[in-house]
C-alpha cells in the first residue's frame, strides 16, 4: 500500500495528448491505492527530460514509468535508475530491443515510426500515392518519425511533403490551404495530433475538400472524433494512451506486491479508429481516449 511511482514524459506542458495519460495514472493510482506523479520537461527539451529521470531516481520511488523518446539521451539515466534498484517500465515510444537494453521490465505502447509505417501501408492499400504531413512540432524529434514511417509505408520519398506548420491554428489552417493550392494533386493529408488536425479539418471544409481528400490523423480529440463521424477523416490512429498510462501502474504495483509480471510487452495500439466504432471513443475522447 502507498507505493510511489513516477511517470516521466517527453512532452511539453501544453501538449494535450498527455492529458489522457494523466487521467490514466490518476485512475490507476486511485484504484490500486498508490501514489503516481506525472513529470515532464516544460519546453519538451529531451536533455531536460534526462535530468528529470535522474531526479525521479534520486527521490527513491518504487518504480518509474517513462518514454524512450531518444535512446541516446535517455538510456543513461534510465539504466542508472534500474541499477539503483528501481523498476522501470517504458511506455509510448521505444523499441523492444532498446527496452531490453536499458533493463526495463517491459514496454507498453507503440513506437512512433512503426505506427507511421502501419498507417502508410494502410493508405497505400487505399490507393494513396502522395501526401502532405502537417507537423506542428517540427523541432520535436519524436513526432516527426510518424511522417517518416508513413512515407516509408507508402514507399515514397518524404522530401518536401512534411510541412512545418507552426502551432497557431490560423497559421496551420492557412498553410495547409496554401500547400494544397500550390500542390493540387496531393492525395492525402496526415496530421500528427489534435493541434494540427483541428485546423486542418477547417481548412479542408473551407476548400470544399472535406471527405474528398484522404485524411488520416494520429491521436484522438473532440474535433477529430467529429471529423471521423462526418467522414472528413478516414481514420484516426489511436495508440490508446490510457492503457499506456494505466497498465504500467497496475503492472508495477502488482509486481511490487506479489512479484507477478506479464511475460511479454504489451501493445497498446495500433488502433485504427474509423467511423464504424465510435461510440465510446466519442464519449471519452480527450479524457480517456
Amino acid at each position: 500500500e502507498g507505493e510511489k511511482y513516477i511517470l516521466v514524459s517527453h512532452a511539453p506542458d501544453s501538449d494535450s495528448w498527455w492529458n489522457t495519460i494523466k487521467n490514466g495514472i490518476a485512475l490507476a493510482g486511485d484504484q490500486m491505492g498508490v501514489e503516481v506523479e506525472y513529470r515532464n520537461p516544460p519546453t519538451g527539451d529531451l536533455a531536460d527530460m534526462a535530468r528529470i529521470i535522474e531526479q525521479a531516481a534520486a527521490s527513491g520511488p518504487n518504480g518509474i514509468i517513462t518514454t524512450l523518446a531518444d535512446f541516446d539521451v535517455l538510456s543513461g539515466p534510465i539504466r542508472s535508475a534500474v541499477d539503483q534498484g528501481i523498476n522501470v517500465i517504458i511506455m509510448n515510444s521505444g523499441t523492444p530491443e532498446q527496452v531490453r537494453e536499458v533493463g526495463a521490465l517491459m514496454f507498453v505502447g507503440q513506437p512512433e515510426y512503426d505506427a507511421g509505417l502501419a498507417a502508410g501501408l494502410r493508405a497505400k492499400g487505399d490507393g494513396v500515392e502522395s501526401f502532405v504531413c502537417v507537423n506542428h512540432v517540427i523541432s520535436n524529434t519524436v513526432v516527426g518519425e510518424r511522417c517518416r514511417g508513413f512515407a516509408d509505408g507508402l514507399g515514397v520519398d518524404l522530401g518536401g511533403q512534411m510541412i512545418d506548420s507552426g502551432q497557431d491554428p490560423a497559421e496551420i489552417k492557412n498553410r495547409v490551404m496554401a500547400y494544397l493550392n500550390a500542390n493540387p494533386d496531393t492525395d492525402a493529408v496526415l496530421t500528427l495530433g489534435p493541434t494540427s488536425a483541428d485546423p486542418t479539418i477547417l481548412a479542408l471544409e473551407e476548400m470544399g475538400l472535406a471527405g474528398d481528400i484522404y485524411f488520416g490523423t494520429f491521436d484522438l480529440g473532440d474535433e477529430i472524433v467529429k471529423g471521423i463521424k462526418s467522414g472528413t477523416i478516414q481514420w484516426g490512429i489511436d495508440q490508446q494512451p490510457f492503457l499506456q498510462a494505466y497498465l504500467p501502474v497496475v503492472v508495477l504495483t502488482n509486481y511490487d506486491r506479489f512479484g507477478v509480471l506479464p511475460g511479454n510487452n504489451i501493445n497498446s495500439g495500433p488502433g485504427f479508429v474509423t467511423k464504424d466504432a465510435l461510440g465510446k471513443v466519442e464519449e471519452f475522447a480527450g479524457k480517456y481516449r
Partner: protein, 378 residues
C-alpha cells in the same frame, strides 16, 4: 544641449550655408512607414515573380495571406502603441492562450452564456494588462522583466486551470456553446457572404469544382478577424495621429520625465497602453476560439515576438517615442505575405525562420537610416 546646429536664432535653417539641401521629393517620401512601404512593394514584387502562378494571387490565395496578416496586424497594433509609449510586452502570446482558455472555461466548463464569457474574459485580460502596467510604472522596472514574469505566470495558469477543471488541456465544443449567441458572431463570423456568393455566381471569383461545396465560391466571405484587424488599425492610427491622447503616447515614450514635467499623465498613458495591448490579445483569442471552436493551452506561443517583429519592421523604435500604426500594419502584411508566400512558392518550410531573421535585420537597418534622416538623430 551642445549638439547645436549652426544656425542662430533669427536665421532660417534652410538659409544655412553649412547644410546641404534636401530635395522636396526625398522630403515627401521620408516618413516612419517608408521602410514598411518599400518592403511591401519588394515582397509583392518578388512573390509575383516566384509564386505568381501558384494560386497565391487568386481569390482564395489572397484571402489566405490576408487572414494570416490580419492576425499579425491585430496584435501588432497593440504592441505598436505600447512600444511607442516606451514599453513592451512579452506576455502577449501567453495572454492570447490565457484569454482563449478563459472564454472556454467560462463558456463551456461553467456553462455561462457565451456573451457573458467573452465579456468577462475581456474585462479580466484588460485588468491583468493594467496590473503589469501598474507594476512597471510603480516600480520603474524594465517592462521586459515584468512582462517576462507574466509570460510565465499566465502560461502556467493556462495549462493548470483546464487540467484542474476538465482534466484536459484542450477545451472544445465552443462552437456548439456559442450557437445562437449574439456576441460570438462578432468574432467568429464572416461578412459580405452574399456579395461573394454573387461574385461566384457571376464568375468573378472561382467556384469549387469538386467536393461537397461544388458551385459555391471559393471565398465565402470576409472573416471577422480581418474586420477587427482593419478596425483596430484604423482606431490605433486615429488615436495616435489625431487625438490629444496620441500626442501623450508619443511624449510618454519619447522621454517620460520630460513629458511628466510638461503635464502629460505618463503613468496613466502607459497603463492604458498595457491594457490596450491586453485587449487586442483578447480580441485575437476570441476570434481564434470562435473560428476553431476550441481553446488550447499552447495557443499563442511566441506571438509576442511576432508582434514585436511586425512593429519593428514597420519602423517603430524599440526604445519608444517613434513609430506608426500604419507601419506596423504594413509590417504585419509583409510578415504574413512572406510566411504564406514561401509555402506557395514551395520553399522548404523550415527555412522560413531563416528568411524571417534576414528580413528583420534588413528592415531595421533600413528603418534606422530613414529615422535618422527624419529626426536629425546622430
Amino acid at each position: 544641449m551642445s549638439e547645436a546646429n549652426t544656425p542662430q536664432a533669427g536665421q532660417a535653417l534652410v538659409d544655412d550655408e553649412r547644410i546641404k539641401q534636401i530635395s522636396p521629393l526625398r522630403k515627401a517620401l521620408i516618413r516612419p512607414e517608408l521602410g514598411g512601404m518599400c518592403g511591401t512593394v519588394i515582397v509583392f514584387f518578388l512573390f509575383f515573380i516566384f509564386a505568381g502562378d501558384s494560386g497565391m494571387f487568386n481569390a482564395q490565395g489572397v484571402m489566405n495571406w490576408s487572414t494570416v496578416s490580419a492576425q499579425f496586424a491585430l496584435i501588432a497594433v497593440g504592441a505598436c502603441l505600447l512600444m511607442i509609449a516606451g514599453e513592451f510586452d512579452l506576455s502577449i502570446g501567453s495572454m492570447i492562450g490565457f484569454a482563449g482558455m478563459m472564454i472556454a472555461i467560462f463558456g463551456v466548463t461553467l456553462g455561462w452564456p457565451m456573451w457573458a464569457a467573452i465579456l468577462v474574459t475581456f474585462v479580466l485580460c484588460t485588468a491583468i494588462g493594467g496590473i503589469s502596467g501598474y507594476i512597471v510604472v510603480r516600480t520603474g522596472l524594465p517592462s521586459f522583466i515584468v512582462t517576462l514574469a507574466f509570460l510565465f505566470i499566465l502560461r502556467g495558469f493556462t495549462i493548470f486551470l483546464p487540467q484542474m477543471l476538465e482534466r484536459k488541456t484542450i477545451i472544445g465544443g465552443i462552437r456548439d456553446a456559442a450557437e445562437g449567441d449574439w456576441l460570438a458572431p462578432m468574432f467568429g463570423g464572416k461578412i459580405l457572404t452574399g456579395l461573394f456568393q454573387w461574385m461566384g455566381d457571376a464568375g468573378i471569383i472561382a467556384t469549387f469544382e469538386r467536393g461537397n461545396k461544388m458551385g459555391q465560391p471559393v471565398v465565402e466571405g470576409i472573416p471577422m478577424l480581418i474586420v477587427w484587424a482593419l478596425f483596430m488599425i484604423f482606431l490605433g492610427h486615429f488615436i495616435l495621429t489625431r487625438t490629444q491622447f496620441g500626442n501623450w503616447i508619443f511624449a510618454a515614450g519619447g522621454d517620460a520625465e520630460s513629458a511628466r514635467n510638461s503635464g502629460v499623465p505618463v503613468n496613466k498613458v502607459k497603463i492604458l497602453m498595457f491594457m490596450f495591448t491586453a485587449f487586442s490579445a483578447a480580441v485575437f483569442a476570441a476570434c481564434q476560439v470562435m473560428e476553431f471552436g476550441s481553446a488550447g493551452a499552447d495557443r499563442g506561443l511566441l506571438k509576442e515576438f511576432e508582434a514585436i517583429i511586425a512593429v519593428v519592421i514597420g519602423g517603430a523604435l524599440l526604445t519608444g517615442g517613434y513609430g506608426s500604426v500604419i507601419g506596423a500594419a504594413l509590417g504585419a502584411l509583409i510578415f504574413g505575405v512572406v510566411q504564406q508566400g514561401l509555402f506557395f512558392a514551395g520553399v522548404e518550410s523550415s527555412l522560413f525562420r531563416v528568411f524571417l531573421g534576414v528580413i528583420l535585420l534588413f528592415a531595421v537597418i533600413l528603418n534606422t537610416y530613414i529615422r535618422r534622416i527624419i529626426t536629425g538623430e546622430r
